[in-house]
C-alpha cells in the first residue's frame, strides 16, 4: 500500500462532541 499524508492527533476538546458527525458500526453487541 502507498503512504498517505501524515495526520497529527488533535486534542480532545469535549467528551460529548468527541465523535460528533461520526458513524460507528458495531458487530456482535454483547458477547454470548
Amino acid at each position: 500500500m502507498s503512504q498517505r499524508p501524515v495526520e497529527i492527533s488533535e486534542n480532545i476538546v469535549s467528551r460529548e462532541d468527541l465523535f460528533k458527525n461520526k458513524r460507528t458500526i458495531v458487530f456482535g453487541g454483547v458477547q454470548e
Binding site: R4, E7, S9, F19, R23, I25, V26, F27, G29, Q31
Partner: protein
Amino acid sequence: MLSHGSEVIICSRSNHEIEGAINEIWDVSDIGSIQENFNNIIKKYGQIDMVVNSQGILTHSDFLDVSPEEMELVFKTNIESVFFICQYAVRYFKNNSIYGHILNICSTEGLKGTCYPYGLSKAAAVRLTQGLGKVAVRDGIIVNGIAPGATATDMMRQGDKQNWAPAYGIPSGRMCTANEIANAAVFLLSDAGRQMCGEVMVVDGGESLH
C-alpha cells in the same frame, strides 16, 4: 460511543435494547453474506467512520470433546468474520479516502497458551490486529484491539444465569465492567489514539500479569 456523539449501528443475531442505537439483525458467522450486508449498511445509513468487531462466542468443551463443528462455528464467528469485515472496511475506507478506525475486541485468552477453540480464535484475532495495524496505517486507517479479561457480561454468567463466574486470581478483586472496556474503546477510536497502531490494550484488573 453513543454518549460521545456517534451514531451507532449494532449488527447482531439478536436485538439489543440500547437507547439511541440502531439495530440490524445479522449473523456474521454467515461469512458469504458479509460483503453484501456491509455494503447494504453503508447504502442505508451513509458513511461509516468506525468499525468495532465485538462478535464472539465461547464454548466450554474439554479438549478431548471439542468437535470439528464446534471448532468451525467458533472460528467462523470469532476470527473469520473479523478478518473479512476488516478486509471490507479497509477497502471501503481506502476507496473513499476516509481516515477510519477499526477496533477488534480480542481477549486475554488469546494471549495465553490454550487448547480451546475460543482462546485459539482470539489468538488469531490478536495477530490479525497487530499485522493489519501495521499495514493499514500507511493509508491512514487505524487498527487496534482490546484484550478484556473476565468481564461481567451475560457470557460470563454461570449455570442458573444468576451467578457471575468467581473472580479468582484477579488482582483487582473483581471482573471488569462493560463500561471499563468501553472507556478503552473510546480512547482507541478517538484521534487521541491515532498514533497507536496494532496495539492490543489489555484491560483485566491485572489478571494476566505474572
